[in-house]
């Protein structure tokens, strides 16, 4: 069976219509010296079975979840994914990454997104949520654009304890727009409030961005940051792990104006880093600046309940050049997974998972503390991740763990050069007591 899109006859017919004699002529605008001038060096075609074997042997080089014990987080977390999430998600009616434009044929998907938005608002303590973004980093950056647009200012203060990759995304978006990023340093594993106090002068800063739990796993208190920035007429952008909100106060309660987060922890697989889910919600005051899509509930002319895209960004359709953002895509299927996860767990279930993460990570830290050469540089409270200082090189520890089937923590030195011999360790509800004890045993070299 041939998968060629057109036959030789069709090719000739098309060339005749546009008035060239051969496909090569289509490239004549490209200088001769830049052309390859030979056929591509491709291997011969394979049968379907042979191709499958090649791909499978490549895939086997990957290590998958379940083949090792994972103690690594740093932005992507192994939590339990209830089987119902996968089952409901595999209904083909939901298979679209796009937000449906036509309410007359898309009520189911629109309602699912509406329920997703409602869940996120309740979780974050916010008034309005959008239909999601690509990932936490994109959501964080879009929030920064919102704040810049709302305040018409040119500076943003960012905690250096925001995920390093989120900060990279932020820089990629903002530096060429002439936006100044002010970096807030860390003190005892938390963002320096006194430094923020010093940089906040002359009402010039559009927003301060703080993450909690931060990249070191420590729980930040958003409230004093909110108070300081609000006195200056700026916004607090709070990044959070939604899974922690069963046990931690929501960004909204703590004074955040915009809340963002990575939604992967809500029932989505690690899956080599994506597709993930960017959460974004805000206070009502900023609802018209919310980027992306928003689904609203309404009634039709007969009074029947229905769902439609709403507040639609006049920006994106009517005034593109004036818009704070032109982003349109969302992660509908991943958002649906998060919605199903939250509905299954409920507030109590989410609190239970959070409690397990808290207790198990603290159990691990207490055991590790008994090992010689292990210390804890920070005293701030943590949720499921914490930083361990070692005398032995992290690479040596991690190699020993790997040989024993354990994926160890993240060597922080690669992101924070001053933190040589510091490991960021993560213990979620997935790890059993025996597995935690196994980690500590192998770590200690026994």
């Amino acid at each position: 069976m041939s998968f060629l899109p057109h036959t030789r006859d069709e090719e000739i017919a098309m060339l005749e219509v546009i008035g060239v004699s051969s496909p090569e002529d289509l490239f004549r605008d490209i200088p001769e010296k830049l052309r390859l001038n030979r056929a591509l060096d491709l291997p011969a075609g394979l049968t379907e079975k042979a191709a499958w074997d090649v791909v499978e042997s490549l895939a086997q080089k990957n290590k998958n979840r379940g083949q090792y014990l994972c103690f690594r987080g740093a932005g992507a977390y192994e939590h339990y994914q209830p089987k119902a999430v996968h089952h409901l998600l595999s209904r083909s009616e939901f298979y679209t990454a796009y937000t449906p434009y036509q309410p007359e044929v898309s009520q189911g998907t629109l309602q699912a997104i509406f329920e997703y938005q409602t869940s996120i608002c309740e979780l974050m303590g916010m008034d309005a949520a959008n239909a999601s973004h690509y990932d936490g980093a994109t959501a964080l950056t879009e929030a920064a654009l919102m704040a810049l647009d709302a305040t018409r200012r040119k500076k943003i203060a960012v905690s250096t304890l925001v995920h390093p990759e989120y900060r990279e995304t932020l820089q990629t978006y903002l530096l060429r727009r002439g936006i100044e990023l002010i970096w807030l340093s860390a003190q005892d594993g938390l963002t320096s409030l006194s430094q923020l106090e010093k940089v906040l002068t002359h009402n010039e800063v559009a927003a301060v961005i703080v993450q909690s739990p931060n990249f070191f796993g420590s729980i930040e208190n958003f409230t004093p940051f909110a108070e300081l920035i609000h006195q200056q007429g700026g916004l607090l952008i709070a990044a959070t792990d939604p899974l922690s909100l069963g046990v931690l106060a929501s960004p909204g309660e703590l004074g955040a104006d915009i809340a963002v987060g990575e939604g992967q922890s809500l029932g989505l697989p690690l899956s080599f880093g994506g597709p993930y889910l960017g959460l974004m919600a805000c206070k009502e005051k900023y609802v018209r600046r919310l980027p992306g899509r928003i689904v609203g509930k309404t009634v039709d002319r007969l009074g029947r309940e229905g769902f439609v895209l709403t507040l639609q960004a006049r920006e994106q359709h009517i005034r593109r050049e004036k818009a704070g953002s032109n982003i349109c895509s969302n992660q509908a299927l991943c958002a649906l997974a998060a919605t199903i996860y939250l509905a299954l767990m409920g507030p109590q279930g989410l609190a239970q998972v959070g409690q397990h993460c808290l207790e198990k990570s603290h159990y691990a830290s207490r055991l590790l503390a008994q090992l010689p050469g292990v210390s804890f540089p920070f005293s701030a409270p943590f949720f499921q991740e914490f930083v361990v200082k070692t005398q032995e090189a992290p690479a040596a520890i991690n190699q020993r763990l790997w040989n024993a089937g354990i994926l160890g923590g993240l060597d922080l030195g690669q992101y924070y050069p001053e933190l040589e011999n510091h490991i960021l360790l993560c213990v979620t509800e997935m790890r059993s007591q025996a597995e935690i004890e196994e980690l500590v045993r192998v770590w200690g070299g026994a």
């Binding site: 018409r152 007429g233 018209r288 006049r314 009517i318 005034r319 004036k322």
Partner: protein, 127 residues
């Protein structure tokens, strides 16, 4: 009727000057062209506005339009009634539907009188 004591821009804003202060709104012609106003976004008190630059947005059922300032200066008051009742712009564009009050630093030179603005809108309608 366009009040004679006001000055007008070709972008359909009006300016009422008194004792160094300037009140800014949009004209009756503008509100009629927009249709029902559903939302208005105004600058923060204390912020700066500049001649000919956008200081806010008015959104109607038909369109979204920028608001352009007829003067430069510091915003001293904004009409907060409009947040709950944007229809005041339709009902009473020259009084209860005012937008902002500015401490004037400079007024645009090319503002129109009520009569000139009337002719201008007639031409624009024929346009």
């Amino acid at each position: 009727m366009n009040p004679k004591n006001l000055k007008y821009t070709k972008k359909h804003e009006w300016l009422l000057e008194k004792e160094g202060r300037g009140i800014v709104g949009i004209t009756d012609f503008a509100q009629k062209s927009l249709g029902d106003v559903v939302f208005v976004e105004l600058p923060e008190v204390g912020s700066k506005v500049s001649i000919g630059e956008s200081f806010g947005v008015v959104e109607s059922v038909k369109a979204v339009s920028d608001l352009y300032s007829p003067c430069s200066g510091i915003v001293r008051l904004v009409n907060e009634n409009l947040y709950a009742a944007p229809e005041l712009i339709n009902d009473d564009p020259y009084d209860a539907g005012w937008l902002i009050e500015v401490e004037i630093e400079e007024v645009a030179q090319e503002l129109l009188t009520a009569k000139d603005y009337k002719f201008f809108t007639l031409e624009e309608q024929e346009g």
